[in-house]
C-alpha cells in the first residue's frame, strides 16, 4: 500500500516538476515567485500579485492557466466596473417571455482580475462571496462556480494614481500575495532580445490534467506537519500579535494558510513532510498583506523582521 502511494506520489511529483519547468521557460529568473504562485493554486488558494505595471503579472497569471489547462477568463478592472459585469445579468427573453441568467466572466476555473484595486469597493466586493464560498448569488438565486475556481488578481501598488485600497477582509481571502520585482540583468537581456515573454505564451502546453490537479489538492493535507513545527508556527503567530510590533496580527485563517502553504511547498520540493524551511519560504507571502505594522511599517518588512527574530529551535514537544 505504502509502495503504491509512493509510486503514485512519484508520478505526481514528476507532473509538478514539469509544470514548474514549463512556467520557468516563460517567466525567467523568478523561480521563487513562480513556485509560490503554483503553490497557492495547488493549495486551492487565491493569489494576489502586486507590482508595478509591466513586470509580467498578467503573463504569470496567463501562463498558470495554460499549464493547468483550465478554462480562463480575464477582466480588466476599472473604476466604472459594476458587479453585474463580473457575475452576470438576468436578461428578458421576448421569445420565452422570461428572464434568463447570462453568466458573467466569473464563471470560469481561473478568473484573472487584472488591476483589481482600480475598481471601486462595490465591484471588489462582488468577488468576496465567490472567493470564499465558490458560488455567487444574484436575484435571490445561488449559482455554483466551477470546481476548481481560482482568483488570480493583480494589483498596482497603492501609491499609484487611481487605486482603491483593498479592505482587510478581502486581503485576508488571498492566500498569498507575491511581488515579482525587476528582472536580473541577464534575464532582462534575454527579454530585450525578444526570446522571452508573451511571444512564448502561445507555446505553452497543458502539463497537468484536471484529475492530477485534484489528486494533488487531496495530497496536500497529507503532508506531515510535526508538533515541533507547529510550535515554531505558533511562536511566529504569537510574535505578530504582540502589540509593540503590529496593530493587526495574523488571523487564524492566516495561520491556516501558512500551514497549508508550507505543506504544499514541501510537496513542490518532493517531500511528504514539512520543514521549517517550508514555513519560512511562504511566511512573507502569507503574512505580508495581512499584517499592519505600527508607524506605517510595511507588512512585508514586518514579516521579514519577525522571521529573522523568532527562533526556529525550541518548544515543549
Amino acid at each position: 500500500m505504502l509502495n503504491t502511494v509512493n509510486q503514485l506520489n512519484t508520478a505526481l511529483f514528476k507532473d509538478i516538476d514539469a509544470c514548474l519547468n514549463a512556467l520557468y521557460r516563460v517567466i525567467l529568473g523568478k523561480e521563487q515567485q513562480v513556485q509560490l504562485a503554483l503553490t497557492a493554486i495547488l493549495a486551492d488558494g487565491h493569489l494576489l500579485i502586486e507590482d508595478l505595471p509591466g513586470m509580467g503579472k498578467t503573463t504569470l497569471a496567463y501562463a498558470l492557466s495554460r499549464v493547468l489547462g483550465l478554462n480562463y477568463k480575464r477582466v480588466q478592472f476599472t473604476s466604472d466596473l459594476l458587479p453585474a459585469d463580473l457575475i452576470g445579468v438576468s436578461v428578458y427573453d421576448p421569445r420565452t417571455a422570461a428572464f434568463s441568467f447570462h453568466r458573467g466572466p466569473v464563471f470560469s476555473s481561473i478568473f484573472l482580475a487584472d488591476e483589481l484595486n482600480r475598481a471601486t469597493p462595490k465591484a471588489q466586493s462582488a468577488l468576496l462571496e465567490a472567493m470564499e464560498e465558490g458560488q455567487v448569488s444574484i436575484d435571490g438565486e445561488t449559482h455554483a462556480l466551477p470546481d476548481p475556481f481560482f482568483v488570480i488578481a493583480t494589483q498596482n501598488p497603492q501609491t499609484q494614481y487611481g487605486t482603491f485600497p483593498l479592505p482587510e477582509s478581502q486581503l485576508d481571502r488571498f492566500m498569498f500575495r507575491i511581488a515579482l520585482g525587476y528582472p536580473e540583468p541577464v534575464v532582462e537581456r534575454e527579454i530585450l532580445k525578444g526570446n522571452q515573454g508573451r511571444a512564448k505564451l502561445a507555446d505553452i502546453q497543458q502539463v497537468l490534467s484536471r484529475d492530477s490537479l485534484l489528486e494533488i489538492q487531496q495530497l496536500v493535507p497529507q503532508v506531515k506537519v510535526s508538533e515541533t513545527l507547529l510550535d515554531y508556527v505558533q511562536r511566529l503567530i504569537a510574535r505578530t500579535r504582540e502589540d509593540d510590533l503590529c496593530d493587526l496580527g495574523l488571523s487564524p485563517r492566516g495561520a491556516l494558510a501558512l500551514i497549508k502553504g508550507a505543506q504544499c511547498w514541501a510537496l513542490l520540493q518532493g517531500r511528504m513532510h514539512a520543514l521549517p524551511e517550508d514555513i519560512q519560504a511562504v511566511f512573507v507571502a502569507v503574512a505580508g498583506h495581512r499584517l499592519i505594522g505600527k508607524q506605517e511599517t510595511r507588512g512585508e518588512q514586518l514579516a521579514r523582521h519577525i522571521l529573522h527574530e523568532v527562533d526556529v529551535i525550541g518548544g515543549s514537544h
Partner: protein, 675 residues
C-alpha cells in the same frame, strides 16, 4: 523628526519627551517655593524649544547658543541675590542645569541623566522641608521620574496609566528595603555644615513684652510645640510652659536685660551648668517625665514646665530655671525632659538677683506706687498683701479682652489699673509685678505658654501660638519663687480651659484670620487628625535619631551588637530579595524545552565556541551547511547530528524517540571532545 548623526533607535520619542517634561515639572515645582521661581519658565521654554526641534520647525541650537544661555542663567542666579557659597546657590545651579538639559535631551542616555538628576533634586527638596506632605509629594515626584525613565526606554507609545502603574509597583517593591535602611542604617552626624537658608523668619514669642504683643500672637494658630507625657497628664491649669523671665521694666516694656543685646550674647549670659541649678533647688514632689517636639521658630528660647531637672537633647540649662536650645531651632527638635514643678527655687537668693527683682523706673505711675505702698502698710504679711491685690483684680470691674484700649505710654500702669481696667495677660502680669516691686517684694514677669490642646487621637498635647501667656513670679521667704497668675483672677476660663473659652463672649479668638480651621468645629476635628498624623511623623520619623535608634533596636533585639544587627539586616535583605524574586517571577518555572531541543542548543553552544554562531532564524539544515563549510573536519558528525535532530523533530513517527536521543547524545560528546 530625528536628529541626523545619532542612532535613531536610541533617540527619545515625542511621548518620552512629554513624560520627561512632566517629571521635571513635578520635581521643580515645590523647589520654586525656596529657590528662584524663574527657573520654571526656563524649563518650559527649554522643553518647548526641544519639541519644536523634534517637529522640525527649528534647528538644534549650536554650542555658541548653549554657551550663551548657560552664561545668562548663571548671571541670573547671581543677580537673584543668593549667597555665592550656600546651599541655595548649589541647589539653584543644579536646578538650572536640570532645566536647561531639556534642550539637549536627544538620546536615551541624556534622558537617563535628567531622571537621575531629578532623583537627586527630590533629595534636595528635603533639605528645605521635612513635613509629611513634602514626603508624600516626594513619593509622587519619584513615581513621575520612574514613569519617565520607563517611557524613554519604549520605542512604541504605551498608555500613561500603564507606565505610572509600573513605576508605582517598582517604588512599592523598594519600600521594604527603604524601611530596613531607615531602621538600621547608622545615623551619622553631618561631616560638615552648609550655610543653610538665611531667610528664615522668627516666629513665636519675642524676648520682650509690650502690652499688645501677646495679643498679636493670639491671632496665630500655628503650632508652637507638642508634648507627650510618659505618665499621667498634669491638670490643665498646672500647664505653665515657662519660657523667658523678664526682669527689666522701663515704664512701658518688660525685657530680659536693661540694654538691647545680641541674642547670642543673651544666651551666653543666661546659660549655666546643671550643678548651679541643683544648688539653688530644693527638689520636692513627683517628677513629670515628658517629650517635647519644638517646631521651627528660628529662636533659641525653649518652653518647659519649671524647673527642669533632667534633659536629653540639644539644649542647655538657663539661669532662671528655664532651658535654651544650643542652636536656633530651625527644624523640629525633640527633647526628653523631667520637671519637678513642686520644687522650691532660690530659697536663698543672691543679693544681685534680689536687686534685679526690685528694679523699677525712677518715676512715672505715681498713683500705682502710692496704691501699693498704702495696701502694703495695711497688710499683715506679704502673702496678705498679694491676696489683697489679687482680690482687687477679682472684685473690681476688671475685664479680660483681646481688644484693649490704648494706654498712656508715660503712665501705662496707672492708666490700666485705675482707668481702663481692660486688658489681657500681659496687662495683668505687668501691673501685678509693678505693684509688688513698688511695695518692695521681689517679683518678675514670666512669659511662655499656658495650657494646650489635648489630642485624643495621638495622645499628645498640642500647644499653639495662641496659647501664649504671661504671668508673675514672686519671691517669698522660705518658699522661693512662687508662681502667681493674676489673669486667672479675672478670666479663670483662660487657665482652666483655653483662650477661646475666655474670649467667647467677645468673639475675638483668631478674629484676624478670615479662614480659621480652629474656629469651625468640624474643620477643627479634621485639623486635630492632621495634627496627630504630623505629630507622629515628627516624633517617629524625623525624630528617629541615634538615641531613638539605639532605644528602638534594644527593644527589638534585646541586646545590640554589630553581629546581632548584621544577622538581622542580612536576614531581612534576603527576605526582601526573595520577595522581589517572587514578584518579578524570577523563580517561576519556565516551561522546559523538550530534551532534543536542549541537546541541539548545547550543540549550538559547542559550535559557537568553535567560532560558528547560529542566528535564531537559521533552520537546522541551513546551519548545518554553514557549519560544515567552516569546519570540514566535523562534516560527518555535524551532518549526522543535524539529520537525527531534524528527523526527530519533523518526521517523528518514522523513528524511535529514545534511540535518536541516544544517538544525539553520543554525537554531541564526540563533537565536544574533538579538537
Amino acid at each position: 523628526m530625528f536628529i541626523k548623526g545619532f542612532p535613531q533607535d536610541k533617540q527619545i520619542t515625542y511621548a518620552g519627551m512629554l513624560w520627561l517634561l512632566a517629571a521635571q515639572l513635578s520635581v521643580m515645582s515645590p523647589l520654586a517655593f525656596y529657590l528662584p521661581v524663574w527657573l520654571i519658565p526656563v524649563l518650559l521654554i527649554s522643553a518647548a524649544w526641544r519639541i519644536r526641534v523634534m517637529k522640525g520647525r527649528t534647528e538644534q541650537p549650536g554650542i555658541v547658543v548653549i554657551g550663551a544661555l548657560g552664561f545668562c542663567g548663571i548671571a541670573g542666579l547671581l543677580a537673584s541675590g543668593i549667597a555665592l557659597v550656600s546651599l541655595d546657590m548649589m541647589a539653584s545651579l543644579l536646578m538650572l542645569g536640570f532645566a536647561y538639559k531639556a534642550i539637549e535631551v536627544i538620546q536615551r542616555r541624556d534622558g537617563i541623566v535628567v531622571v537621575l538628576t531629578g532623583y537627586l533634586l527630590v533629595g534636595v527638596l528635603f533639605l528645605y522641608s521635612q513635613s509629611i506632605l513634602t514626603a508624600m509629594y516626594g513619593v509622587f515626584a519619584m513615581t513621575m521620574l520612574s514613569g519617565a525613565l520607563i517611557a524613554i526606554q519604549q520605542s512604541a507609545q504605551q498608555s500613561i496609566g500603564s507606565n505610572l502603574k509600573l513605576s508605582a509597583i517598582m517604588l512599592l517593591l523598594c519600600l521594604p528595603l527603604m524601611l530596613v535602611l531607615f531602621v538600621f542604617a547608622p545615623r551619622f552626624a553631618p561631616l560638615w555644615t552648609l550655610p543653610l537658608h538665611s531667610n528664615h523668619a522668627r516666629t513665636g514669642i519675642s524676648d520682650q513684652m509690650t502690652p499688645g504683643d501677646i495679643a498679636n500672637l493670639s491671632q496665630s494658630e500655628g503650632l508652637a510645640f507638642s508634648v507627650k507625657f510618659n505618665r499621667a497628664r498634669p491638670d490643665q491649669n498646672q500647664l505653665y510652659w515657662r519660657g523667658m523671665v523678664l526682669n527689666y521694666f522701663d515704664g512701658n516694656t518688660w525685657s530680659q536685660f536693661q540694654e538691647e543685646l545680641d541674642p547670642d550674647v543673651e544666651k551666653k549670659t543666661l546659660q549655666t551648668s546643671f550643678s548651679n541649678i541643683a544648688d539653688r533647688l530644693d527638689k520636692r514632689g513627683e517628677g513629670i517625665e515628658y517629650d517635647i517636639i519644638y517646631e521651627a521658630s528660628g529662636q533659641s528660647w525653649l518652653f518647659a514646665l519649671a524647673p527642669v531637672v533632667s534633659l536629653q537633647g540639644e539644649a542647655l540649662y538657663g539661669r532662671n530655671f528655664n532651658i535654651i536650645a544650643k542652636h536656633d531651632v530651625r527644624e523640629p527638635m525633640m527633647l526628653k525632659l523631667i520637671s519637678y514643678p513642686d520644687s522650691r527655687r532660690d530659697v536663698a537668693l543672691a543679693d544681685m538677683l534680689h536687686q534685679q527683682a526690685l528694679q523699677l523706673p525712677p518715676d512715672g505711675n505715681a498713683a500705682s506706687r502710692e496704691l501699693a505702698v498704702r495696701l502694703f502698710k495695711t497688710s499683715s504679711s506679704p502673702q496678705d498683701f498679694i491676696d489683697s491685690i489679687l482680690n482687687r483684680y477679682r472684685q473690681d470691674a476688671f475685664y479680660y479682652t483681646l481688644r484693649p484700649p490704648l494706654l498712656d505710654p508715660q503712665h501705662s500702669i496707672d492708666d490700666f489699673l485705675l482707668n481702663s481696667k481692660k486688658g489681657f495677660c500681659a496687662h495683668y502680669a505687668g501691673s501685678f509685678v509693678f505693684l509688688m516691686r513698688a511695695a518692695g517684694i521681689p517679683a518678675r514677669v514670666v512669659i511662655g505658654y499656658q495650657g494646650g490642646e489635648w489630642n485624643n487621637n495621638g495622645e499628645f498635647l498640642a500647644v499653639h501660638h495662641y496659647d501664649a501667656h504671661a504671668w508673675a513670679e514672686v519671691l517669698l521667704k522660705n518658699r522661693g519663687w512662687v508662681r502667681i497668675d493674676p489673669t486667672s483672677m479675672v478670666a479663670p476660663q483662660r487657665v482652666e480651659q483655653n483662650l477661646q473659652a475666655a474670649v467667647q463672649e467677645e468673639g475675638s479668638f483668631l478674629e484676624a484670620k478670615i479662614f480659621s480651621m480652629t474656629r469651625n468645629q468640624w474643620l477643627n476635628g479634621v485639623r486635630k487628625q492632621l495634627d496627630s498624623v504630623q505629630y507622629r511623623w515628627r516624633r517617629y520619623v524625623l525624630g528617629y535619631d541615634t538615641r531613638q535608634q539605639a532605644a528602638f533596636l534594644k527593644r527589638l533585639l534585646g541586646e545590640v551588637s554589630v553581629g546581632h544587627i548584621a544577622i538581622v539586616v542580612g536576614t531581612l535583605f534576603t527576605v526582601i530579595i526573595l520577595i522581589w524574586g517572587i514578584v518579578l517571577g524570577l523563580f517561576r518555572k519556565q516551561p522546559r524545552e523538550a530534551i532534543e531541543h536542549r541537546l541541539y542548543r548545547r550543540f549550538c553552544q559547542i559550535l559557537q565556541k568553535k567560532g560558528i554562531k547560529r542566528l535564531p532564524s537559521q533552520t537546522p539544515q541551513q546551519f548545518c551547511r554553514i557549519a560544515t563549510a567552516q569546519l570540514p573536519a566535523f562534516n560527518q558528525d555535524i551532518t549526522k547530528f543535524t539529520e537525527t535532530y531534524s528527523t526527530l523533530c519533523y518526521q517523528p513517527d518514522r523513528v524511535s524517540y529514545q534511540q535518536q536521543i541516544d544517538i544525539m547524545k553520543r554525537l554531541l560528546s564526540k563533537i565536544r571532545k574533538q579538537r
